[in-house]
Point group: C2
DNA sequence: CTGAAAGCGCTAACAT
DNA sequence: ATGTTAGCGCTTTCAG
């Protein structure tokens, strides 16, 4: 199989299949000093292949990497030897030599959340086509840690990074005001255009405003907002969109209707909804806008527990449009984010940055869309 | 910070923080031949640190790796230099030298599925404590590909692998009958005890039988099974458990009640349920056992569309007990799998194998549990 | 307790 | 078109 044809792909010849065991190796000559065979696995080295094929290591390397200047006959001979010996390139060595890990780091606050899972898929798909693999870090897994994930870049563990975690994005923006721009990373979903780090996301202000406008248009006046931590930029933007919609309709906003949660899981949504419905009859909301579908699904459950009907008593609007949104009862009206594209775009921006460190990579805003189902 | 105290952890001194830029580097001497500075990033090399600290590279290495034989004063001097220069070890070089990538490959059929997401978390948590990072591959992403993911092991891209994908597990068991036992990997959830590859999972036969027994105990007689591809071992085992429960109760099994789907998402469950309810009144089931909660959630939706009440008209039992199971309406009765532990155990087995390649790593079966909620 | 030096396996000059 | 060879940056003998 020759070099991969895909435009973005690294031009390395893939050495697939051929599962036979290796023939005699250089068998530890036991020279004095240095590590003996510590790194030598079953496959043999490129030198062993070269010797058996009767060519130099350079030629084997050229064949392996799909370089042009190799006579077909020679190439065939090398390939045959590779095939029969089951040789596999040692990427550890290749990586050191080329000074790249061909790994992309993806930092997620919680990949149990389907929203992030879908974005990660988008990242993975374009990364792989470009010959990169994905190092996945659940930043929520050890929240207490001081350690910076960006150190993984400095230590050459990954060539670039995509950060989906708002907390980590903010920490990065703060802690390395200048250096963060030097490190090859892009922010996804949470971003600060002012900082100069490439990003991709949506217009959270408008998206939230659209959602609340919809609620208002359908006659709701007592609209609650279940938001994530106001510390995050996207949370602030969505809150402002909510406030703007209320203001333009001349609707009063009550503090009791604004609740912040520090976790976006179902349980948090259910509890927030339950708390909201414990307000006195005249203070209880007739609509709830949750900034995440997982939260909204929990809200549906909390409302059920409070014996409130949706949408009759309380209308519910979610955010993201994860697959689950269409399955719950009632199906969720929600603000769709192009999750897949968010991930793909993030990866492409990063790849562009890696291909040309000088490149001026832009920030991009993708369109959102209000999906009206039956919960509002 | 000295060597990490954690029992499983690699004893490498962590070099955190210190974000200042590096001082003057060796500055490409431009010797003839060889690559000049191609791999030299901002941080400077260990040699530069050694020179500036007035010690040898060996000493710096010893300090960095928390070795004992270094005079406190020397250690302090090195640490100070590391700190002030913002030096970071180049793991590419370290990896080549030590012949390990310190990466664990995790193969998942679909990490959009919360079941797998939770297992992956379990893996990640123990892997990280042991100083490994996780390379995540969504095997469903490029299903058509012939390429073997196990090649990543042979190419030293990862030190070991955990496979959660039934298709890939079977392919591995088939394609490399002997070699698969040599490669450091463990099967999770889908496994064949006969093959000799370490594994962790549950007793699928018993779990399914328990679920169906529960249905029978609550008076159901017309029990449908929505299973995944019968090609998979776990699917066969669950089917057999279903059949056994039916047989021991002397209940007839109808072919029309057995449906196989090749995808475990909500939509597949909804469609399967809809199809089941299109059967004539006397042929329609009064209970549905779905082998995955995602399927079961879809079933709930499909049943709603068919105007069947749950559990009055049709009882539903799912499998896995993902967080969502408790949120839907009605809350799902399901067979709980210890997802987190499944992942943690898989990682521990693999780690044990890596620590001692000769070690006889066992197969382990974790307990399941029937969680009765309101759907059945 | 410290230093000198040998490579790990590979890629890419540079020569032929 | 092919071979020779110099390192990539690190860890680890082995000597002192």
């Amino acid at each position: 199989m020759p070099a991969q044809p895909h435009p973005e792909s690294a031009s390395r010849a893939e050495v697939d299949e051929a599962d036979k065991a290796d023939k005699g190796d250089e068998a530890g000559k036991d020279k004095p000093g240095g590590a003996r065979g510590v790194a030598t696995a079953h496959g043999g080295s490129i030198a062993a292949v070269a010797r058996r094929a009767g060519v130099s290591v350079a030629t084997v390397s050229r064949v392996l990497n799909g370089h042009a200047n190799v006579r077909p006959a020679t190439r065939a001979r090398v390939l045959a030897e590779v095939e029969s010996s089951g040789y596999r390139v040692n990427e550890l060595a290749r990586n050191l030599r080329t000074a790249e890990s061909r790994l992309l780091l993806t930092m997620v606050p919680d990949f149990g959340n389907p929203f992030y899972a879908e974005i990660v898929r988008g990242i993975d798909s374009v990364a792989r086509r470009a010959g990169y693999f994905m190092l996945l870090c659940d930043t929520g897994a050890d929240a207490g840690r001081e350690r910076s994930y960006f150190d993984l870049l400095r230590r050459h563990r990954a060539d670039g990074a995509i950060c989906l975690d708002p907390a980590t994005v903010q920490q990065a923006n703060r802690m390395m005001a200048d250096e963060s721009q030097a490190l090859p990373w892009v922010a996804c979903c949470e971003f600060d255009p002012a900082v100069g780090v490439p990003y991709v996301g949506i217009d959270n202000f408008r998206a939230a405003r659209d959602a609340v406008r919809h609620l208002i248009a359908s006659g709701r006046r007592r609209i609650a907002l279940i938001n994530s931590d106001d510390h995050y930029l996207y949370a602030q933007q969505r809150r402002d969109g909510y406030l703007a919609a209320l203001a333009e309709a001349g609707i009063e906003m009550r503090d009791a209707w604004r609740v912040n949660v520090n976790c976006l899981d179902y349980e948090a949504g259910a509890q927030a909804a339950a708390a909201l419905m414990r307000l006195s009859r005249e203070a209880a909301p007739d609509a709830i806008f949750a900034v995440s579908d997982t939260l909204a699904v929990g809200v549906l459950n909390g409302l059920r527990g409070a014996r409130s009907r949706v949408p009759e008593d309380v209308a519910v609007v979610g955010f993201d449009d994860i697959a689950l949104a269409a399955q719950v009862d009632p199906p969720l009206t929600t603000v769709a984010q192009p999750m897949r594209e968010l991930g793909e775009t993030a990866a492409r921006l990063l790849l562009r940055r890696l291909a040309d460190p000088q490149a001026q990579v832009p920030g991009v805003l993708l369109p959102h869309r209000l999906v009206i189902r039956q919960s509002a």
